[in-house]
Symmetry: C2
């Protein structure tokens, strides 16, 4: 990656069970918020990328690239990008790829998902489209697949069940400061350990919820007219894939796609792990947060559980994670999550994160995965200050 | 668009009702064919784009970007692109967008769709995800929506029913020379007119079939080591969108997305319509071929019906169309079609189209639309000879 992509605006809807909002409503609300933030009109947008996992199945609506044409009457190139729960991050990445060309462009990226209307057993089956055929036939669900990863990690590295629980506790604490979050409510380690078992060792409070929501970012390869020192930029991105089946992976205690994406990301810049102030990482299940900290490279393999505790205790040698509340507590509208992570990171870097604002953050990472880790997409963001 | 994208290899599976081939089989077969044609190994590929309309619904499989990781053990960035029946063309376009950057890359694009396993009433409903909510609720199907366009065109411009039929006849004649085609069988205008009515004025033989199939192209922004005068390049691309609902469109006799995409495409080069030797255009229904000839700009609005007759009679002032047999007779595996069009155009420009080879073609257009025209994506290709 060779140029800085300016984040001109962001918009995030309320995340939650939004019975009175349709897919198109959510799309529109996030877009309007991002346009207003950027001080732009829809006609200033040159291209649109839509991140969505399964509106065909949940809203009988595909071809979401044409939603803006239906909503606004614009005719710009617009396309949907899908990579299961990494759809949003991949949509941002496609925009960034397009912005690497020489043509000056302003691109709108919208991630949107409408999930809560479905009975959970139907949704559970639909979600398994993001796993492998063998896993579906075997009757696995995503809690089961992540439980396998958790079991392997606990067995191999002696990871403490309480560290998994603490990942959820931390996300809930953070979400209390986020007005967009689905759960603005603290929980305790004991509550996680006593919540309904889903698949051993994971309980209900180890799992991200079912969420409706949308997020939008407006990206440009045009230099901002004036950088008042409060701008945010994407300075690198990467993506990687891995086999759909856990059975076809090299290991059950690491996600190869995250390792490859992280290596590719850091290889593009001089920035190192210790420069990163905070990470929005993909904690669809508590074990996923632990794996991410290891696989991105913040701590060595096996130390992820302890790292959660260190971060919870504000260890200055580790970045803050999921200040938004993460997937666990901010909520996880599948195709919106990856866009929301970038929007959230930009808000922090621009000093606009309200009650959850970190003190002068300079560098942020976003980490978004699909399925049980078959896709990973990452972005590295920097503040004006950092790039001076 | 500022650089030429070299088409290093192409692969097309047999199109048809392929009961013994899974989605993954088709993906693999097209990829292997393209790799062999390019003289490359899968490990030479830097990124992958997958065009697919609805494998989630028809094969319970999303996250198709990870299929290559499952099939080959590679971990490269790979993502699915969706825009209904324009998914394949949009996947090619995303690859081309990425190749406009300065990073030298070789990108595999695979379009794949598995449709024939479904009862036609179930499939008919699934296809309507690419239309608008109102149209679905009204009980419309795609034959009905295109029948409305045909009725309006016949009423406003006196378009002859026989000209619609002739579009199908021509595609079937061409498909007789294409070993990949679903229907290698001639039909007559009378047979079209007497075939089962679907929605007035369209009959069964005005409609593209339900098809399984896959196509792959390998694209690179690296200059070929040697250009022996038999290479093919993408020299421009464009895309546009329009409202999902026919009711929200400006007109029922033209597809705005095609008009916008065509204008944007030709604005990028010195090439004019009269330079184009052949077009692979989106004839999902016979009326669509007529609309495309007008909306791309080969003839004036209303003259598309007569243009079909002129092309059938080899009028040198108009390009050949759908030498492959088009969607009507080669078949229309939704997400594969746009990739197959580019693969087919490259085969012609490289002089490798076998029995259907045109005489020294220099410039080709591909035209791929989604739904009832809510998405359009076009590519302009040129032979080595043309670029000398």
């Amino acid at each position: 990656m060779n140029s800085r992509i300016h984040i001109k605006g962001t918009g995030i809807t309320k995340f939650g069970e939004l019975w009175d909002k349709s897919l198109a409503d959510l799309f529109y609300d996030a877009t309007e918020a991002a346009l207003a933030d950027a001080g732009l009109k829809i006609t200033d947008i040159d291209q649109i990328y839509v991140g969505n996992m399964f509106a065909g199945e949940t809203s009988s609506q595909s071809q979401l690239g044409s939603l803006p044409a239906s909503l606004y009457g614009v005719n710009v190139p617009s396309v949907r990008v899908e990579g299961a729960c990494a759809s949003g991050g991949l949509a941002v990445r496609q925009a960034v790829e397009a912005l690497q060309g020489s043509r000056p462009q302003t691109i709108l990226v919208v991630g949107v998902e409408k999930m809560a209307d479905f009975p959970s057993d139907v949704l559970s089956n639909l979600l398994m489209q993001a796993a492998s055929e063998e896993e579906r036939i075997a009757g696995a669900t995503f809690p089961a697949l992540y439980a396998l990863l958790a079991q392997a990690h606990m067995e191999k590295y002696g990871t403490d069940r309480k560290h998994l629980a603490l990942a959820s506790v931390m996300s809930h604490e953070n979400a209390c400061n986020n007005e967009h979050a689905q759960f603005q409510k603290q929980i305790t380690v004991e509550q996680v350990l006593e919540s309904m078992p889903t698949c051993e060792p994971l309980n209900l409070l180890d799992c991200a919820p079912i969420t409706d929501g949308a997020a939008a970012v407006i990206l440009s390869n045009r230099k901002p007219k004036k950088d008042d020192g409060k701008e945010a930029y994407i300075i690198a991105n990467s993506a990687a894939t891995d086999a759909l089946s856990l059975a076809d992976r090299k290991s059950l205690t690491e996600l190869e796609a995250t390792k490859k994406a992280s290596a590719a990301l850091f290889a593009q810049t001089e920035i190192s792990h210790s420069d990163i102030d905070f990470v929005e990482l993909h904690d669809c299940f508590s074990i996923a947060a632990i794996l991410a900290l290891e696989d991105i490279g913040f701590v060595k393999k096996g130390d992820g559980g302890k790292a959660i505790e260190r971060i919870y205790n504000n260890d200055p040698d580790l970045p803050a994670i999921n200040v938004s509340g993460g997937l666990k507590a901010c909520g996880h509208p599948a195709g919106a999550t990856g866009v929301k992570q970038v929007a959230e990171a930009a808000m922090q870097l621009r000093g606009r994160a309200g009650k959850r604002q970190l003190e002068n953050p300079r560098y942020a990472l976003t980490h978004n995965i699909g399925g049980s880790g078959a896709t990973c997409v990452m972005h590295l963001l920097a503040s004006s200050e950092a790039l001076k």
